[in-house]
């Protein structure tokens, strides 16, 4: 575990990211879009390259030394994820393509098992589409309904009525840990405790949480916890679903094929125990090993130091941006992480995004796959800057200058 140490040596860290030396439109790139996808440091890229050059084969197959080696590396990566999330057993760690697939797995396997006609699925008002649409599909199939925990104008969930929202028909709560639009860090532990008191399990979307704060699934008492490799300095195409073993053992498989079976005959097929029964087909092995390397990298930096650095940048950017005329920040929760969404009077977010791009500043402009959040705040889209451990105060200054120039242009 990390202890109190020196702040991050950001200039040294930046050497691990060749992309940060690129130039767009004659301007050095300022990458403030880690909430869309984090950049991978060289040790992660090199680890995957080493696997593909020297170690590549399939896993859980055959008796060759090569195959055993690949299997060991792949399972070591799973063990790293277990440690990272504080799970009790590596059997509770399922590889998926990403958070979206992980949440679909919960909906299609666990959800289909427990949700019946007339039941209710509870979601928060700040969910990403990935934690809305799979539940709508299930609700439609089963004749169930979706209910929503509302939020206030600061972008904080209104929890006063939570105990009334959870009825005897509620079968699951889907909850985002950190909002990808508003940056709100939800009081997940408290909400889970209150939801469990009514006997309802909770699935947490942790995609935007794991890069910024230490997560302990046993301390949270989450039933399921999902995240993506590529937001955690790892590659795309790999993600994780943590599930309590008791749930995983009770759940049916959701995709069939090789790897997930114990034996197959025309009469009867039996399945592997978890996590194997949820992992049909050949997995993205290099990506899994790369995610393991990303966890090593992030843990070596220390999530406490990462959080402290990003919080300083967020505070600095907030102070500078909120002073600009006509600029409004969306998401002013007391507890925020690393994401800063804003709109400017008279400038559409897509125009602002293009103008910032012209200054080398990479941000996200759009609805952030969270259209109900846009509707809640009555905006078509926002511009969003997101900060990572390799960003600097000087980069925040470039962002602010670029926004000022855009405001001047549109005056």
């Amino acid at each position: 575990m990390t202890t109190t140490r020196q702040p991050l040596d950001v200039q040294a860290i930046r050497k691990d990211f060749p992309l940060l030396s690129r130039v767009f439109h004659g301007k050095p790139v300022v990458y403030l879009d880690s909430a869309v996808s984090g950049q991978m440091p060289l040790p992660v890229i090199e680890r995957m390259l080493h696997y593909e050059r020297e170690e590549h084969t399939n896993v859980h197959r055959g008796v060759s030394t090569l195959s055993q080696e690949a299997t060991d590396r792949y399972e070591e990566a799973r063990e790293k994820v277990r440690g990272f999330l504080g799970a009790a057993s590596a059997r509770e760690i399922i590889w998926t393509r990403g958070t979206t697939e992980a949440l679909n797995l919960v909906a299609q396997s666990f959800g289909r098992m427990v949700v019946k006609e007339g039941d209710e699925i509870l979601l928060s008002a700040m969910e990403h589409h990935a934690n809305i649409v799979p539940w709508q599909m299930l609700a439609q199939e089963k004749g169930a309904t979706i209910k929503v925990i509302p939020m206030n104008d600061a972008g904080e969930l209104i929890l006063d009525g939570l105990d009334d929202l959870i009825t005897e028909r509620t079968k699951i709560l889907g909850l985002v840990h950190v909002s990808n639009v508003l940056g709100t860090v939800n009081p997940v532990k408290e909400i889970i405790a209150r939801t469990h008191a009514k006997g309802v399990p909770v699935v947490v979307d942790g995609a935007q949480a794991v890069p910024h704060l230490a997560v302990d699934v046993r301390d949270l008492d989450a039933d399921f916890y999902a995240f993506s490799g590529h937001k955690l300095s790892g590659p795309t195409g790999i993600g994780v679903l943590y599930g309590k073993l008791a749930h995983l053992e009770a759940m049916p498989p959701w995709q069939g094929g090789g790897s997930m079976i114990r034996s197959v005959s025309w009469e009867k097929t039996t399945y592997m125990p978890a996590p194997g029964k949820f992992e049909a087909g050949t997995p993205p092995i290099a990506a899994a090993i790369g995610l393991g390397a990303a966890i090593d990298y992030v843990q070596a930096l220390g999530l406490d130091r990462i959080a402290a650095h990003e919080h300083e940048l967020l505070t600095y950017a907030t102070e500078r941006l909120e002073r600009l005329p006509g600029l409004r920040i969306l998401g002013t929760a007391k507890n925020k992480a690393s994401v800063l969404s804003f709109v400017v009077d008279g400038i559409h977010p897509h125009d602002l995004g293009s103008l910032l791009d012209g200054e080398g500043v990479v941000v996200r402009a759009g609805h952030h796959c969270a259209q109900p959040v846009m509707t809640r705040f009555n905006v078509p889209a926002t511009t969003r800057a997101s900060f990572a451990y390799f960003n600097t105060r000087e980069e925040v200054d470039v962002l602010v200058s670029a926004v000022v120039k855009a405001i001047e242009l549109f005056k």
């Binding site: 439109h25 559409h348 897509h350 125009d351 293009s354 012209g358 609805h367 846009m374 549109f410």
Partner: protein, 149 residues
């Protein structure tokens, strides 16, 4: 790739600030709604077509500066023109912002609308510029809705 800032010329900014022919014609002979799902741009176009001429046209809705200025300049450009010519302009505009037609020689009907040619270098914004023209095409064809998807 050209600099996105070059696209935001004064004409575009000015039409965004003060869109021309903004509103709704009632009654109208042709009508369509345009929607750009990616950006959330929304546009409603109403026209009065008589004797094969676009006698009047108005638009309303919300969108980015590229979308709004494109709509505003389009209404000015097609007003008073034969329907067939308006359709041909839509084709030329679409071809230009997709980089398929050279504004120097291949888009004679567009006139000052060639100031949108820079859009072709910003693929993510092509749909914004095209939406008003796609909506015009839909309205003239008697379709209720146009989408850039």
């Amino acid at each position: 790739m050209s600099d996105p800032r070059e696209l935001y010329q004064q004409v575009i900014l000015e039409h965004n600030r003060k869109p021309r022919n903004f509103g709704k014609l009632e009654p109208c002979t042709h009508h369509a709604e345009g929607h750009n799902p990616l950006c959330g741009d929304q546009l409603e176009l109403t026209l009065v077509v008589e004797d094969g001429l676009v006698q009047d046209v108005k638009f309303q809705g919300s969108g980015c500066a590229i979308d709004v200025s494109s709509a505003s300049l389009m209404t000015q450009a097609v007003k008073g023109r034969p329907v067939a010519e308006a359709e041909a302009m839509a084709e030329q505009f679409r071809g230009m912002v997709r980089g398929e037609l050279d504004p120097a020689t291949q888009t004679p009907l567009l006139g000052k609308l060639i100031l949108f040619q820079g859009v072709k270098d910003i693929p993510s914004r092509v749909k914004c510029a095209v939406l008003p023209w796609a909506t015009l095409h839909a309205a003239l064809k008697g379709e209720e809705e146009a989408s850039t998807e």
